[in-house]
Symmetry: C2
Subunit: 304 residues, 2 copies
């Protein structure tokens, strides 16, 4: 097998994280730059610059994790909510620019692939990963392969109903009572402001909980209960061996969320999964997405 490296790029709402990644998932070099907010051409140029910064003769392929449904057939980014990319032909553009095989993936799927190949999910064939950041991303590995759904866009696990007719979603989602508005950093920030005043946010909430503040602990335990409903649903719907909880908020609040989340998850999950399913904290931190994007690049290379 080709033992050259791949560049993985994780496009986030705030930052572009890029890294040179070896076949075993080791990150050899990293690079970070701000995500432009003004125009599609500017975003594409910065993505090119992030790759060019790391490019050398060791690089055999490039992969991108993007917070959008991906049209895999055409290699197109369908549309991001908070980044100016719509119907962007990223694969063709990057192929032409760098002359290398290019892989594209939804960002939450990329994170799941990263944890599966090089993190908490190593050696596991079936896992569900939930990325709890500002929003909620979900990725599924099923039968040793990324599960991408009918349109290849990936799964939208933040948008399953857990409270019929409940809290409204935002943006292009018209749904009610989806998992996302109950368990994200955004939800935690809202609850924190309600309890501790307008200056509070999710970071402060977690810090207060770490210091033993009962109100903060109560808020996170309640968020954990909703998360447990979602986790139990996914255990029953996908039958994974492992659930991985990642994302900035998920990793930071892990110890406060998990007691109640596991209690509700085990109540909701059917036997035998109730007893057998494992839950782990993501191991790769914020690098999961770029590492996963690099594995998608290797996939494109091996298929080329």
């Amino acid at each position: 097998m080709d033992d050259r490296h791949a560049i993985g790029v994780d496009l986030g709402g705030t930052k572009i994280l890029a890294g040179v990644v070896a076949r075993d998932g080791t990150v050899l070099r990293r690079h970070e730059r701000a995500t432009p907010k003004d125009a599609q051409e500017h975003v594409l140029a910065e993505l090119e610059a992030a790759v060019a910064e790391l490019l050398d003769d060791s690089i055999a392929a490039v992969g991108f994790g993007v917070p959008s449904p991906i049209d895999q057939r055409r290699g197109v980014v369908v549309g991001c909510v908070n980044i100016p990319l719509v119907e962007a032909p990223l694969r063709d553009r990057m192929r032409e620019r760098f002359g290398l095989p290019v892989g594209l993936e939804n960002d939450a799927n990329a994170a799941a692939i990263g944890e599966w190949r090089a993190g908490a999910g190593r050696g596991v064939d079936d896992l569900v990963m939930l990325t709890l950041g500002t929003g909620l991303g979900g990725g599924v590995i099923a039968g040793g392969r990324p599960f991408r759904g009918a349109n290849g866009a990936g799964v939208e696990l933040g948008h399953v109903v857990i409270v019929h007719d409940g809290r409204p979603c935002q943006g292009t989602c018209t749904g009610r009572g989806h998992l996302e508005p109950y368990v994200t950093g955004l939800a935690a920030g809202n609850a924190a402001r309600e309890a501790f005043g307008p200056a509070a946010d999710a970071h402060r909430l977690v810090r207060l909980a770490n210091e033993g503040d009962r109100t903060a602990l109560g808020i996170l335990a309640e968020i954990g209960r909703y998360l447990g409903s979602g986790m139990g649903s996914f255990v029953n719907a996908f039958g994974p061996e492992l659930v991985v909880i990642g994302g900035g908020f998920g990793v930071a609040a892990w110890e406060h969320l998990m007691p109640s989340a596991l209690e509700v998850m085990r109540r909701e999950a059917l036997p035998p999964m109730r007893e057998t399913v494992r839950v782990e904290r993501a191991a790769l931190g914020t690098a999961a997405g770029l590492i996963g994007a690099a594995f998608v690049a290797f996939e494109a290379l091996d298929a080329a």
Copy 2:
């Protein structure tokens, strides 16, 4: 390809439905007998009798759809809720008895396979089927293959949470607010008795709705709303092209459930699925399960 036929057997809580099925899904002969309730050995003997009744030289394989998780590796029926089968080594037993390749499948998955190969889902690679009978069964075809989850047991779509901390489930399920207790014939029967007295049931509820009774129409519309929450969740989680609604209650109440179910489903589903996903009534009626079981038999034959 071998053009002999297969026998498909659908083991239900009340009846064993068996049929001789051609490669194109046509049912050539059918047979039906009661499901014993007393002992495992009696159930296995009746399953053998149902096959023996239809067996001739045209039969190349036998398949069973069973309302239980299936351990595909060992060919074992893990355990049914309302039929005395626990850790039943059905595959080995039937192989020895008939000397033919034997396929096993969860009953809801079998129904999904039937509709996919020979019914409403013909030619579709990604579909979700919901079987609304007394209980709720779910089956998923993903990327042109039955999706069976990590343990090979199939998916349990009746047991996703749609009402956090809601109605309790029954039997071995300790969950709260799962889809099943809101949208099944059992749920409809309970609502019917509440509205029309102890003699009412789901059949009468549907009949009254057919006659234009406003109370009955309102109950079914409300059930449809809950169903829409579940359908929207599955559209987002699996990204199917098609959702098929089957089962005795689902097919009978279809026209009364669908207006509100589609309204809520389209509210919950994300773009672009919101616009593109199709919803159809099951085409094979009560034969979906046995036809699907026969396709599982053909799969076992072709793999042998």
